[in-house]
């Protein structure tokens, strides 16, 4: 899986590259538009992560070139601007996804993964499992060690989101935006309350705690537990 990262801010490029390499992707980093065009012409990529502010030709130009030569190549835009007008313009130009700086790296990884999955046939798994915790999406049931656990709709959605990204630390902001909606933005204490309730239901009375708090970052569900 080869990713082209077009980013002129050296330090941003460095941590994104490092992080993506840790996820076992192959990453080429270029710092300007011309080199980006050159790379796009000579190599093949599965995803392009594109910063809009480039020193020579703008990210919009690069995006236009990509759409002219290769319609299906997924492009994730990174930008420091977040006005709605910009967003609309980017999607009109053919961006597939959009992240505003500063972003959470985990979120970037999740979005890249989603873009990579896009071409493939949807392999939505009906049953998610972490250790002895099982979530059945079609039956809307959660069991731990065969014991049925009663969850509210929101608790179920929260657990589903955590289990879909098992092993990964999800920030409160990401959880709010995915499980609730944008209007709850900033209301991260609601996540804490729901996680506490959820923890009571799935971890209480079990020796291995699955739901883990990562200070400063967020929450994660994983086999190692806390």
């Amino acid at each position: 899986m080869r990713i082209l990262l077009v980013e002129d801010e050296e330090k941003v490029a460095r941590f994104v590259e490092r992080g993506l390499k840790a996820e076992l992707y192959l990453v080429d980093v270029v710092a300007d538009g011309k080199t980006a065009l050159h790379h796009l012409e000579h190599f093949s990529y599965e995803v392009v992560i594109l910063d809009l502010n480039l020193p020579d030709i703008s990210g919009h130009e690069v995006l236009r070139y990509i759409r002219k030569s290769n319609r299906s190549l997924p492009v994730l835009i990174l930008t420091a601007r977040d006005s709605i007008a910009d967003k609309v313009e980017n999607f009109e130009l053919g961006a597939d996804d959009y992240l505003t700086k500063p972003f959470s790296f985990t979120e970037l990884v999740l979005r890249v993964k989603a873009l990579l999955r896009r071409g493939q046939s949807p392999n939505r798994v009906d049953v998610l499992q972490v250790a002895d915790l099982v979530l059945d999406r079609s039956a809307h049931q959660v069991r731990r060690k065969e014991h049925l656990i009663e969850l509210t709709a929101k608790e179920f959605a929260l657990l589903e989101y955590l289990m879909m990204n098992a092993g990964r630390v999800l920030s409160r902001t990401m959880i709010v935006e995915n499980v609730w909606d944008q209007s709850f933005e900033g209301l991260t204490n609601i996540v804490d309350v729901y996680v506490r309730q959820l923890r009571k239901k799935i971890d209480e009375g079990h020796e291995v705690k699955l739901l883990r708090t990562v200070r400063g970052v967020g929450y994660s569900i994983s086999e190692e537990g806390a």
Partner: protein
């Protein structure tokens, strides 16, 4: 409008006052001049008469006798008929001739300068008749051939003069109100016409707000003061526009510039915290820094959001929203937060209160206000949500039994980064922008948010939004359902 009228009134009052002054001065001047002229011409006539009598009859006194002369004067001048008083006397004051009433005359005997001079300078004086009438008198001395000197006095009443002056006075008195009336009426119309551009400038200036600073006032190419005024105002608006754009651009630029360093900080901290070798203490400290970096991000985004709303740059969707349904949804989702603090959340929601707006943004208003209420209400408190419609307003109110807001803090709670003392000391991790965001969103929807509170006795926030106007068909449908 009011100012315009008062300028009119002021100007008219001022120039009517000036006009009155001028008119009074002019009247006095004319009166005095006319009186002087009439008196002079009467004196002139009397002098001629006296000279005529002196040169015609005095010579004849020694030759033909006083009686003849008296008779002659009586027949020639008929003083009684002509309302004249005539008297001739010699140098000793001995009367030669005297018409009726001549005894009131002054008996002035103008001195003849010695030498060859024959006739004295005429001297004028005034006396009163027994009837009270004033007489103008001219006295004249003359030396005749035999060397004896006589004085001729001729008098005439001033009645003509007073009659003429009275006529003048009445003309002036009647002319004055007419003139002033004309001046007021004409001035009102003329000033109204002249001040009309002010009205236009005022209404155009009223229409200019922060959202349309690009607009300019109409400039009439007349070259007069109003053209200069509107051009000057336009230049001022231009400068305002520029500085305002500068401020907005500053907010955008500043947040833009802060984004990249924050991205690096967050990215590096995030990767650092994942290091498996990290001990727990270090992980917690890094986590703290990361939390603050995330909060900083939210502050920057909030600030940018508020300034975008204020400049009208942010676009609002126009969804049809059932306010009660929306608030119910929020309350359902946030209920666990209330349970967590043992708060009693009670709702009184009227269904079918519709508003038009951006659903995400309006939900944000509800979430922020509810979150605030939860934050500042101690355990076991009560929070009440009300939604209802009132005339053309959709109203959502939320009251709590929390610590309330001090009177001093109350006017400032919607200011950016303002925190009341109580809020500052309590454990919060907000951005300081929550209520500013609430206010900006509500105002961007053409609504208002109000707050009333007494310290220690809770607070009540009240959001008023324009009620969505239903189409007639929908209205009928609605009444149908209600029936």
């Amino acid at each position: 409008m009011k100012a315009n009228r008062s300028i009119r009134v002021k100007l008219i009052t001022l120039y009517v006052a000036i006009l009155t002054l001028v008119f009074v001065c002019f009247g006095i001047y004319i009166y005095a001049g006319f009186k002087t002229y009439l008196t002079r011409s009467l004196q002139q006539t009397l002098t001629w008469r006296a000279q005529q009598i002196a040169s015609t009859f005095l010579q004849e006194i020694p030759t033909k006798g006083e009686a003849f002369v008296s008779n002659e004067i009586q027949t020639r001048y008929a003083p009684e008929l002509n309302q004249r008083v005539i008297r001739i006397a010699d140098v000793h004051g001995q009367q030669v001739y005297g018409s009726k009433n001549s005894d009131v005359l002054t008996r002035i005997q103008p001195e003849l300068v010695s030498g060859p001079q024959v006739e004295s300078v005429p001297v004028s004086s005034q006396v009163s008749l027994p009837s009270g009438e004033r007489l103008e008198v001219i006295a004249l001395s003359r030396r005749i051939a035999d060397g004896s000197i006589y004085t001729v006095e001729v008098g005439a009443p001033e009645t003509d003069i007073s009659t003429a002056l009275a006529g003048l006075t009445w003309t002036l008195i009647f002319g004055f109100p007419f003139l002033i009336g004309l001046a007021i009426g004409g001035g009102y119309i003329l000033l109204g016409r002249a001040l009309r551009p002010v009205d236009q400038i005022v209404s155009a200036a009223e229409a200019i707000t922060l959202e349309n600073l690009r607009q300019r006032l109409p400039v009439s190419k007349t070259g007069d003061e109003f053209e200069r005024l509107s051009s000057a105002l336009n230049r001022m608006i231009e400068r305002l526009d520029e500085s305002f754009q500068l401020t907005t651009r500053f907010a955008a630029d500043a947040s833009h510039e802060l984004r990249t360093p924050l991205t690096v900080m967050r990215g590096e901290l995030e990767s650092l915290i994942k290091e498996p070798t990290l001990n727990e203490d270090l992980a917690e400290r890094i986590g703290n820094v990361l939390e603050e970096a995330v909060r900083l991000t939210r502050i920057i985004e909030g600030l940018l959001f508020v300034s975008r709303l204020e400049t009208g740059e942010a676009q609002m969707r126009k969804d049809k929203i059932d306010l009660g349904e929306m608030i119910n949804g929020i309350a359902d989702q946030m209920a666990p937060l209330a349970d967590d603090k043992l708060l009693n959340l009670c709702r009184k929601i009227t269904p079918g209160v519709l508003v038009e707006g951006d659903e995400i943004r309006l939900k944000q208003v509800g979430v922020n206000l509810l979150d605030n209420a939860f934050k500042y209400t101690p355990e076991g408190g009560q929070i009440s949500l009300h939604v209802w419609a009132e005339s053309n307003l959709a109203i959502f109110s939320i009251s709590d039994t929390g610590m309330g807001i001090s009177e001093r803090a109350l006017p400032h709670i919607f200011d950016r980064f303002f925190r009341a003392e109580q809020a500052r000391t309590s454990r919060t991790s907000g951005t300081g922008l929550g209520l500013s965001i609430v206010q900006s969103i509500v105002e961007a929807h053409g609504g208002k948010v109000r707050v009333e509170s007494q310290e220690g006795r809770g607070a009540r926030f009240r959001v008023e939004l324009p009620l969505m106007k239903l189409q007639p068909a929908a209205m009928m449908e609605k009444t149908g359902v209600a029936v």
